[in-house]
Symmetry: C2
Subunit: 246 residues, 2 copies
DNA sequence: CGCAGTTTTGATGGACCTCAAAGACCGTGG
DNA sequence: CCACGGTCTTTGAGGTCCATCAAAACTGCG
């Protein structure tokens, strides 16, 4: 195990206090959680869980980015989720991890041992309610991603990914997405390929293509500027954006 | 609306009593549910919900099969879920349907008006607990399907779909999947294509290919015989099956 | 500078899509 | 009974998008 234990912090000052699985908890419930929680950190590139691992804890991502992915024996890999601050790892009632979890940047987790957490869930409905809500949202996102994987062209896939990252970035900063947005791609070309069901070469080519038509601009390899958000949206193949952010 | 109202039935004799969202309910809770439930039926081919529709109810599939899918303006369609008996439609706290739901065979739903159901959820934890469990399972399945869509070849996709249908069929009949399994494909070639992110021609060709190598046999267009389950599994590209059914 | 990892670019081939037509199946009506 | 149309399915021919293989450019670092 690569995790490091660090000092306990106060939940009330936690950056994900209002979005994570604990967001609905009352002060007394929070106190109970505080007693069973502990932090762990992982460096960029480190594995957090391997598929099949025994899971002794569930956790919330506090800071950093991790990927959830699935590999075939011959090396083909499909990313099935991107874990951002406030996202939840693990599930009550499941012994073994169904997917690989890898830290993309440095990651801090707020962990709870599984058994005490499961017990607490039976007593405090607020946790289960919030977890249900989060899981339903994740399910909708997963299903939307299925359209990207199954039916979109390489170019539409890239535009969809850039748009998703742009929106997540603005939602984390609590700004509306607007023209002239600027943000970093947190993923390597290979990770993008694994997310999109493409090869890294195709990812690179399509990013170049979007750059050449002016839909995006690049500073360095990773920093993106979107001069016209509607132009990017029209490249995704989706019908007009409903104005949603979250 | 195409639904027909039919007579109220006794929950204790319901075929999905032990698997649906109500499976954890105590007799008194079941009685409350019985008071707010009503049945609806749809003929094969009929739409149940369109994406964007206002949802006045949530429901369990009692009998029949429905598809959950997403369409792009230009007609490209991706199926994002197959709804079988005991599966749940809709979600508490959401006004509008995010996907299209279409009856593939004749379908009977057990419906609950959304508001009373939401209220009941706050009072009876058993419903929320079961719904969370079902949603987490659906999320895992959706993520597994992402690997199929993103990384598998046409042949592997077909084999994966046939295997899933074979397993679901044996789980509904409560038999272990074995050699010499025999079952019907409930979907048209086009619906399979929409599930797999392929064209219907490619689906047809790959089914013919699996037939020619003897991995499957066909009686008519829809009835399938699997003489050697391991042979089918090895065509899916997955590593060896863990022996799971459900 | 030299090396390893990442990204870009090029050339080629193949898996799958597109367009097209014909065959199989089924209910309807003459 | 068989002809007829509609739907679903199969099969064929040709084209395209993306994967594969290969190499060069870029980046950061010891």
């Amino acid at each position: 195990m690569n995790g490091l234990h660090i000092d306990v912090k106060d939940c009330s000052q936690c950056p994900i206090r209002h979005r994570a699985v604990c967001s609905r908890c009352e002060p007394d419930e929070l106190e109970t959680l505080e007693n069973i929680k502990y932090y762990r950190t992982y460096e960029a590139g480190q594995p957090i869980l391997w598929s099949g691992d025994h899971m002794e804890f569930v956790a919330s991502v506090v800071t950093g980015i991790a990927t959830l992915s699935q590999a075939m024996e011959d090396g083909r890999t499909q990313m099935v989720g991107l874990l951002l601050p406030s996202d939840f790892i693990g599930r009550p009632g499941r012994e073994r991890a169904p997917f690989d979890v890898v830290a993309v940047s440095d990651v801090t987790l707020c962990c709870f041992r599984r058994r005490p957490f499961e017990e607490m869930m039976t007593q405090t409905p607020h946790i289960g309610q919030r977890l249900l809500e989060m899981t339903l949202d994740e399910l909708d996102s997963a299903r939307e991603w299925m359209l990207v994987l199954g039916r979109k062209t390489a170019r539409e896939k890239i535009a969809s990914l850039v748009l998703i990252i742009a929106r997540r970035d603005s939602s984390l900063r609590r700004k509306l997405p607007a023209d002239g947005m600027t943000f970093d791609l947190p993923l390597t070309r290979e990770a993008m390929a694994d997310y999109l069901g493409l090869t890294l070469e195709t990812v690179s080519r399509q990013i170049s293509a979007l750059r050449k038509t002016g839909t995006i601009r690049l500073e360095g390899k990773r920093h993106v500027i979107v001069p016209d958000l509607d132009a990017l949206i029209s490249e995704t193949g989706d019908d007009y954006d409903g104005g949603m952010i979250a």
